[in-house]
């Protein structure tokens, strides 16, 4: 279980969930696994199945919080793990930190603040970078896009 918990938690939190919501997403994934045990065809893939389910629960909670989803809509059952989740791995993360160091400013500072402080507010990032709060979201999106390009060969 310890092999999976940390990755599940990080996936939930990276979707912008606060700790309480992330806890619900992780617990929901474990409960879905209990009710789906008979349908999981490959026990070796259970970690990937849990991550995929955590991600779906996290996305569902985000959409529900934004009022985009009725409360009583159940998520579709996970039949196949999402291979994209293989990047949620400490080795990949270390490699990404190395590649982040090749990015210029303000992306390096912005992404370090964002990644290392999951609950950081845009106002704090704006103050640190000396930019308007309204610029933080677009700048973060641009910097993440650059990081994504640097990660193109990791999966």
């Amino acid at each position: 279980m310890a092999r999976f918990d940390g990755r599940m938690w990080s996936v939930a939190r990276a979707h912008g969930l606060n700790p309480a919501d992330a806890a619900d997403a992780v617990q929901g994934a474990w409960l879905r696994m209990i009710e789906s045990l008979d349908g999981i065809r490959d026990p070796e893939a259970i970690g990937a199945w849990l991550l995929t389910t955590t991600r779906r629960e996290a996305v569902r909670l985000c959409r529900k919080a934004r009022g985009e989803l009725p409360a009583d809509v159940d998520p579709p059952e996970v039949t196949e793990p999402d291979p994209a989740l293989a990047v949620v791995d400490a080795d990949v993360g270390r490699e990404m930190w190395r590649r982040l160091a090749t990015l210029g400013e303000p992306c390096q500072t912005l992404l370090r603040l964002y990644v290392l402080n999951p609950d950081v507010r845009y106002g704090q990032i704006a103050a640190r970078l000396g930019i308007p709060v309204g610029s933080v979201g677009p700048a973060k999106a641009r910097c993440l896009a650059k990081l994504r390009v640097l990660a193109h060969d990791l999966l």
């Binding site: 938690w9 939190r13 929901g28 474990w30 409960l31 696994m33 290392l116």
Partner: protein, 148 residues
């Protein structure tokens, strides 16, 4: 590749925001909640007008069906806790009992002759309802997140 997954990997590598012990403990508790031999009831669309659709507005309504049984589950917020009620159709008969299951507690009730049940003081969070009807296998709903 999504931004969220890259960020998750980098946080794991940096050792920031580790999973809280309580979350791991809840995961352990979840593993004990399997109901061997039970039949999983899938959600079915609720009938129009059968209830409000979000706990934000006070109540939330779900309907499940399996093995010839229909279970309705309705939540109502009451002083920070939940009142859970519903109906089993057709009524399961004598000897049956309804179990409201959460990761931290379970409460049982005998259904009324008409198949109704109600339980109070259920904590907000994940829950599932099981209809035990020996000698047939229990029918259990999918887990539902009941919270505003």
């Amino acid at each position: 590749m999504s931004d969220e997954l890259l960020v998750a990997a980098m946080r794991i590598a940096a050792g920031v925001d580790p999973v809280p012990a309580a979350v791991s403990a809840d995961a352990c508790a979840a593993l004990g909640l399997q109901l061997p031999g039970s039949i999983l009831a899938a959600p079915v669309p609720a009938e129009p007008g059968s209830g409000t659709r979000s706990l934000l507005s006070g109540t939330e309504f779900h309907r499940f069906a399996a093995d010839g049984l229909t279970l309705t589950v309705e939540f109502e917020l009451d002083a920070g806790l939940l009142r859970v009620s519903g109906q089993v159709t057709p009524p399961p008969g004598p000897g049956a009992w309804i179990e409201i299951r959460t990761p931290h507690l379970g409460k049982t009730r005998a259904p009324s002759d008409a198949g109704g049940y109600a339980v109070t003081s259920i904590p907000i969070g994940w829950l599932s309802v099981a209809c035990h009807r020996p000698p047939d296998p229990p029918v259990v709903t999918r887990w539902i997140l009941a919270r505003p």
